[in-house]
Amino acid sequence: MPHKQPTLNLSPKVSDEVRKTTCYMCACRCGINVHMKGGKVAYIEGNRDHPVNKGVLCAKGSAGIMQHNAPARLRAPLKRVGPRGSGEFEEISWDEALDIATGWLAPIRRDNPEKLAFFTGRDQSQSFTSFWAQNFGTPNYAAHGGFCSVNMAAAGIYTMGGAFWEFGQPDWDHTKLFMLFGVAEDHDSNPIKMGIGKIKARGARVIGVNPIRTGYNAVADDWVGITPGTDGLFIMALIHCLMKAGKIDLDYLARFTNAPCLVNSDEKSPEYGLLLRDPDGKELVIDRNTGKPAPFDQKGVRPDLAATHRAAGVTHRPVMHLMAERYLSDDHAPEAVADRTGISAARIRAIASELARVAFDEAFELDHAWTDFRGEHHTKMTGRPVSFHAMRGISAHANGFQTCRALHVLQIILGTVEVPGGFRFKPPYPKPATAHPKPHCQATCNGPLDGPHLGFVQGPEDLALKPDGTAARIDKAFTWDNPMSAHGLMHMVISNAHAGDPYKIDTLFMYMANMAWNSSMNTRGVIDMLTDTDESGDYVIPRIIYSDAYSSEMVAYADLILPDTTYLERHDCISLLDRPICEADAAADAIRWPVVEPDRDVRGFQSVLCDLGARLDLPGFVTEAGDQKYADYADYIINHERRPGIGPLAGWRTGEQGLTAGRGAPNASQIDNYIENGGFFVEHIPKGANYYKPWNMAYQDWAVGMGLFDKPLPYLFSLYVEPMRRFQLAAEGHGDRQPPDHLRERIRRTMDPLPIWYDPSGDNRAEEYPITALTQRPMAMYHSWGSQNAWLRQLHGHNPLYLPPNLMRDNGLKDGDWATVTSPHGEITVPVLEMAALNPNTVWTWNAIGKRKGAWALDKDAPEATKGFLLNHLIHELLPPKGDGLRWANSDPITGQAAWFDLKVRIAKAAPQNQSKPVMKPIKSPVGQGPDNLAWKVGK
């Protein structure tokens, strides 16, 4: 047949209209262009103008159309009519639903607000939900940070006023060596991919430290397949090598960190280990001009890193001395850690050497003049082009806080934080722990809580304890068990409420948290706790209210369901008060708005809280006349002021002369202004103010002008975290607030003010269970929401357990075989697959692919429900019993972060199976099942 070519229309109409909003397929918060045809969503692409993704979009984002139209969407409020877990519900009206909720909550607020536990999961409106909880008056509020990455966030804030992801980013334009630790491929996903692409295009080196070589580690130039949980040892060996070789930035350490601050070195002093301060509480340093102590921020002061100082008969030594003593020790030499980390001493030296070479030999200068907080003018900015990134991988261990601290210390001694080529904060960070609130827990009947729930303790006086010393919060956050639990401990709420430890609650109220499945450790046990009854046949956790947009596993275990909208049907603000989307060079925030109206009887959860808040007469939610203050969430976003002139959105506020950014009165058209601008607002930091932010007066003044804080806040990075020392002092017997005896030794050991490493494997019985089992989330999928997505589930429909070749061989396994995986807590039987690019003592699988039969509108024979599985069945929220009768949490003893990645297992070949075990019985779907076939074209 001859060549014949039809005539094509090469310029078909793309859409009727483009509506620009913010993605919510994960926590990355990219800008999206939603192409509409005939009033329907036709196609979603990235927004080129958006500061987060600059046009690109990941698989999840492009699959948003399948999410928005998912058959698993809930359709109306539901009231449970069968036993918990049966899935028997009846649809009710919103009036009835809100009457029920008010009827349960009003008496709690009147009689004892702590009987409400309100916890939100992957909530991106925490400044709002916490405001609601604070006005309700319960001390029991937090979001999901405690089971996610609080170690990274808290270690960063205590050390340097911010961590990675939302807090900061590598200087992608200048960095020449990028080292990433334990990064699962989800958080900050598009910016990291864009950054890696950018730096690889210019030939920069990427070093990946991760037991598993997938994703970013697959494209890393060098892969370090470290033994899980030993990152701290490796990092401190790098610190050892760099200090020993003098490859540290002494000028930076002297000027910008507490390395020169003076530590009380008298073991007998009640202030042993605390910093010497002046009467105003300012840290003192020895001024090299005078040889005398001076406040660190005094004009012209040149802090001395080496000098000691005697005051009132007590010798004070600079932090730098303690650093030298600790890290120059042979305990931290590469040879001392090689076996435990699984990295040869020569390799550790090679990496230390490369860090030193790039940081110092490839240093460069930018012609940006700036003035520091001591009034010194600098004509240039020195760049040290080494940058780091880390997330849950190093966080989710019981030694995670100290490991994250070590990583921040490594960055700081190289002088590479907030300098060109290094790691840079994003507004409103940098913000030191001292500028954050402290936790509040004082509940009053019929009144608001005495302040924000979550915060940063400075010492034992800030713990959330009742007068009798017991925990004020249901999750035991901010107690001696985990004093610095800045994000709360969501993973302990159900377990503690069920045990009545520290007390019983009445109502558990949760949002977007699949606690009856993949968001809980010990899934089976949690389900039993949710359904357990007391002697009189009543549920031990009497009432459960749950809000979700989808028919998740958790729905079946609630008594009242408040159905949420999809992300394309709602208002939201990604606020500077919360978890903003700023860039290192700009402050930015964004909105979501209903690009389509819901076709079901569902309401945005935050709007429901506005209504419920008014029904409960919560102070922040009613007018003086007692009427509902905010008609819905959009009304709140526009009109709420946290401080005078500061609201949820920073863009297009009303100034004295027209619209303004940052500070200003509410503007009734603000959301329209955002929509006109593509759904976001961005305000750039002036040149010269955009590096050295914690110490750069131009930045500090700009930040005050923007309303990020109310007065300049220059501060020193804390290599030495003094608040930790205050807890140690208490454990040593000093002070009025004393820890219980069974915790003294642990507090003394773990709350070291300089980073340490300790081995959590003993607590997890590594001698009997020698293999570490990990999970990662696939880049194309994120937590529960992916499995019901018709397009994404074709990419990752089930999850094998990946084993390295040696473990396959040792257990006589081949691809497609089944293995039983046993931990101290439980057993699962799952399909296996060999993977060579894997630490030889580690197995892993994709997280949250496995689904319960009957959930998510999937067929009961869906691979997610048959072959898919969760490692959660192997992980308990408590450590294996130690025989002392105590409940020891499987958490970091400093922050309470869930230690997911401390899981130890053993493996044995199993007979071929039809389904992964445990097999749990199906739950009845409240939404039926999805259609057989799709051919999704909305335009004709």
Binding site: H3, K13, A63, T214, G215, R347, I351, D859, A862
Partner: protein, 254 residues
């Protein structure tokens, strides 16, 4: 059987960088989204929420594990994982066109894009059989053969801003691993990249002369391991006074 044009004016195609592809599947789903809504029949999904979901995709990413051979320097080189996106390579000698019994498959004269005229396609599947790359799929709902169109309805589309007139997979790729251009023009961005980075044909032995090129991964795990006497790690604490002595001296110079 269908004839190919004698020559094409341009050779539009993709250059895919295997050094930076992180295997995120963004291109796969963006392609699914655009091409479901646009050119030809939607890309359907069978058993979409069931036991064996299976849909039509014009672009898929496969991951391959590579075990480098041992050398005298590296006795146990670590294994690597290569993410490999694969779609139609718009071959100069496209066997999927010549095998087509109805003339539905054709290669465009002006830009070399290989397309299926769905109204002439009988869904016989010969083209899928002939393609050595597995780049064609039959859409089970429509009964026609589907393949990458290089977003022919985007790249010339005057309803899109000029910057967006690229295949949707290229526009969306977060790591910038996908490049689009004219490989017949030696000065084009894609031709220069191919020359600089040693861009390769996929399975050249098949004689298909693919237009798309793959940039190979750069050598990995090449950081040399070093002993104690590394120049950058020469200890300062061997000096008199040890580390603190060095500290004092160095501070004097600041």
């Amino acid at each position: 059987m269908t004839a190919l044009p004698d020559k094409t004016d341009r050779k539009l195609g993709l250059v895919i960088d295997l050094d930076t592809c992180v295997g995120c599947h963004a291109c796969v789903i963006s392609c699914k989204g655009w091409n479901t809504e646009n050119y030809g029949a939607p890309l359907s999904d069978q058993d979409a929420y069931g036991a064996a979901p299976s849909g039509t995709f014009l672009n898929r990413v496969h991951s391959y594990e590579v075990q480098p051979l041992a050398t005298s320097d590296k006795v146990q080189p670590p294994a690597q994982l290569i993410h490999f996106p694969k779609s139609c390579l718009h071959c100069d000698d496209a066997p999927c066109v010549t095998v087509c019994p109805t003339g539905a498959s054709y290669k465009r004269v002006e830009d070399g894009i290989v397309l299926v005229n769905e109204s002439d396609c009988i869904g016989c599947g010969l083209c899928a059989w002939a393609c050595p790359y597995g780049a064609r799929e039959k859409d089970e709902a429509e009964g026609v053969m589907k393949k990458c169109t290089l977003c022919v309805d985007r790249i010339y589309n005057e309803n899109l801003e000029e910057i967006d007139r690229v295949p949707t997979c290229v526009r969306t790729c977060p790591s910038g691993a996908r490049h689009f251009g004219d490989l017949a023009d030696p000065d084009s961005h894609v031709s220069r990249l191919t020359a600089e980075r040693g861009g390769m044909d996929l399975m050249p032995e098949m004689g298909t002369r693919p237009v798309n090129k793959y940039l190979p991964p750069r050598p990995k795990d090449a950081l040399p391991e070093i002993d104690v006497l590394a120049p950058y790690l020469a200890p300062v604490d061997d000096a008199p006074g040890g580390f603190l002595g060095w500290l004092d001296k160095t501070l004097e110079k600041l």
